[in-house]
């Protein structure tokens, strides 16, 4: 915590770059709209979806209220089935645990399933630093690993790329022939990955859910790479954020129906794997199972009764697809691994609000995120709460072109709003002043913050010659 450096202040500059890039705009627009419309369709076909959301919310709340109990139960059941449990309080500890397991296993090559937690803790860098070779096997993650970028989306890491981009990337890094046919691109990736699966001594995954009752790791995917990563290598390591717990196996009936539909509009993803312990005698599977339970800021989030709700997230990415702001600025503008509305909540929790002060403000608060969230996280409500925390705790940089700090402006504004005479006087003075800058009822350019922002891309209607309250006096009583 606190050491992770993100550049949330750069969100403005990055957003401008993405807005100016027609190629990126189209990539984000078409992908998010496709996923969003699939979601709408899938949800409309399932009666009682709303009740499922309520049930999921209640279950997550229950888990968070008694997380100590469920974690202990989960750990005990994992160990009872022959798995090993590791606890990691920080990103560094989690990376160290994985390195030690790899060293003990003598594994240099590591095949990885898509896991946001591994991105969060910077695992690949930590592994490469000691000479280990992590290979991303999810197609989207494979692509962004080649391009040296972070994920642009929680479930579709390469959302910002078109097939043409991917083709160019493969030509450069894999020396393949250029092709724009998705099936051919997939086949190229598949050939490259097969070799890795064959030689890897360790498979690393995340977990979509961790079932306390049975010690089961639940993984959902569409490509089969997770199943491969958890069966071919001798050792399986599952990185599990402590918020992934669910009480009972039966609760999967709630969460699995929500997850696929909310994320991609699928009734179920193509593969759903329930892994309980290492392989049993006479069966396939890894000889060793290690479950790394990671805190990395989650306990601190749990301690805040409001922000605790952020831990309910099941990482479906639905709020990203629905968010008008995400569609325009894309994932990388958010400056860290988590993006979109949920990222604007998760990131400040995990790296500290000081490093991510701008993120809660990157929302028009339209609330569509809340309405699509499968676990009913009140995302706009929490963004508002984080905004208030930001104003209380983190000093804001003075805005460009501003004579006064925003806080001073707000204090002046509140002072006037509490005094109708001051409000009316201010209005009169502003109307006198605008005579010099308004033309035919419009103001084209203002240089003072915050209204300078308004006139950057649109005109500002001039204040009306007479306010409503002045006109009211002339309207006569009924």
């Amino acid at each position: 915590m606190g050491k992770t450096r993100i550049q949330s202040g750069e969100i403005h500059e990055r957003a401008r770059q993405v807005l100016a890039d027609a190629h990126l705009q189209e990539a984000y627009r078409s992908s998010t709209l496709r996923l969003y419309s699939h979601r709408l369709q899938a949800v409309s076909e399932l009666p009682g979806f709303e009740r499922l959301r309520e049930r999921a919310y209640a279950l997550k709340r229950e888990v968070m209220q008694h997380l100590d109990y469920y974690l202990a139960q989960f750990a005990e059941n994992v160990e009872r089935r022959g798995g090993h449990i590791h606890w990691a309080a920080t990103a560094a500890e989690a990376c160290a645990v994985v390195r030690e397991i790899a060293a003990d296993a003598g594994a240099r090559e590591i095949v990885k399933a898509k896991t946001m937690l591994s991105e969060e803790i910077g695992l690949n860098r930590a592994l490469e630093a000691v000479g280990l070779c992590p290979y991303e096997t999810d197609l989207g993650e494979f692509i962004v690993q080649l391009s040296g970028e972070g994920p642009a989306h929680i479930v579709a890491p390469a959302m910002h790329m078109t097939r043409h981009d991917v083709s160019r990337l493969f030509v450069t890094h894999l020396h393949s022939e250029p092709t724009d046919v998705p099936e051919e691109l997939t086949a190229i990736a598949r050939r490259a990955l097969r070799e890795k699966f064959a030689c890897a001594g360790l498979g690393l995954t995340g977990a979509n859910f961790a079932v306390a009752e049975t010690g089961t790791i639940v993984l959902v995917e569409n490509e089969g790479n997770i199943r491969f990563s958890t069966t071919a290598p001798r050792v399986h390591v599952a990185l599990v954020g402590i918020e992934k717990l669910i009480p009972r196996l039966a609760d999967l009936a709630v969460f699995l129906r929500l997850l696929g539909r909310s994320g991609t509009g699928q009734k179920l993803t193509v593969y759903t794997s329930l892994l309980t312990g290492p392989c049993r005698p006479g069966e396939d599977g890894p000889e060793e199972l290690h479950v790394v339970l990671v805190d990395n800021g989650r306990v601190a989030t749990l301690a805040d009764p409001k922000m605790r709700e952020v831990l309910y997230c099941i990482r479906c990415g639905g709020c990203l697809n629905a968010c008008p702001v995400y569609r325009k600025i894309g994932g990388h503008a958010y400056g860290w691994v988590y993006s979109g509305p949920i990222g604007a909540l998760v990131t400040p929790q995990l790296v500290g609000l000081e490093s991510a002060r701008e993120l809660p403000f990157a929302s028009s608060l339209c609330a569509v995120c809340r309405d699509v969230c499968p676990v009913k996280i009140n995302i706009p409500g929490l963004l508002l709460y984080l905004r208030s925390q930001a104003q209380e705790r983190v000093r804001a940089p003075q805005p460009e072109g501003s004579l006064l700090r925003e806080r001073t402006l707000m204090r002046l504004w509140a002072w006037a709003m509490k005094r109708p005479w001051a409000y009316s006087l201010g209005s009169r003075l502003a109307r006198l002043g605008q005579r010099f800058i308004a033309r035919e009822g419009w103001i084209r350019r203002l240089t003072l913050h915050p209204l300078s922002g308004w006139t950057k891309g649109r005109d500002l209607p001039a204040l009306a010659p007479k306010t409503f309250r002045e006109r009211w006096k002339e309207m006569g009583k009924q």
Partner: protein
């Protein structure tokens, strides 16, 4: 026209909202006209200023609290408070309970006010049970659902029913009618490029629908869209629902 014929006409206090008061006062005038035409007694307390949302929206809760607390005492003498804004109405009904969570005395006042505080279209359709207010406007209009009205107050059909009852009007639906126009309060000046890009997208949808006018129930969204229209000289016009319902063309 099915104007109300109840024995006791409700007494309605207007909450005009600071943006409408300062920038678009014709919204308030039209609101008064429509309500009076329906036989409603309209009162206006000039001690009102702002609901406090700009400060709340930007995270300045203390300032929002101070401004909002004033509003709680202004409307005791009215049966209903009617505002031409889904956003300011949500502020009172949805966000005041959060803002005053640690202030039990104000919270009691909020509870008394909440059930009487209505957005304009909601008041006409739900309370007065009126759809046809006697307006006529022979033009093609698209209705833009402002986010707070749609998702905080769940008002979706009321404005459409009122518009459909206007003589001569052709109501066109936007393909992305649930998508934000990009205003977002102080978001509009904190992320101006994103805000404008969303406004442009909304206006493209309006143009594609074939509408001449985009109608909405919030001065903020309307100022934002009108600002983009004016800057780009687009052949579209904005109009508040109250203005539309006051039309007799």
């Amino acid at each position: 026209m099915n104007s109300p014929t109840r024995a006791t006409k409700p007494r309605v206090a207007l909450f005009i909202t600071c943006l409408a008061d300062q920038f678009l006062p014709q919204i308030g005038e039209c609101l008064v006209q429509v309500l009076r035409r329906l036989g409603v007694e309209v009162i206006f307390n000039p001690a009102q200023t702002c609901c406090g949302q700009p400060a709340f929206n930007t995270g300045y809760r203390r300032e929002a609290h101070e401004v909002a607390a004033r509003l709680l005492d202004l409307f005791d003498d009215a049966d209903y408070v009617v505002a031409p804004s889904g956003s300011c109405t949500s502020m009172v009904r949805v966000f005041y309970p959060e803002l005053f969570a640690n202030d039990p005395e104000s919270l009691r006042k909020v509870e008394r006010l909440r059930s009487r505080f209505l957005e304009f279209s909601e008041f006409l359709v739900k309370v007065l049970e009126v759809e046809d207010v006697g307006a006529s406007f022979p033009h093609r209009v698209a209705y833009h659902d402002s986010c707070h009205l749609l998702r905080e107050l769940l008002v979706e059909t009321e404005p459409r029913r009122l518009i459909r009852a206007v003589r001569g009007v052709e109501l066109l639906e936007l393909g992305d009618h649930q998508l934000c126009c990009g205003f977002g309060g102080t978001f509009s000046v904190k992320f101006p490029e994103v805000s404008v890009a969303l406004g442009e997208e909304k206006l493209r949808a309006v143009a594609a629908s074939g509408a001449e006018y985009v109608v909405a129930n919030d001065a903020g969204c309307l100022m934002h869209l009108a600002g983009v229209i004016h800057r780009q000289q687009l052949p579209l016009r904005t109009m508040h629902l109250a203005e539309l319902l006051a039309k007799r063309e």
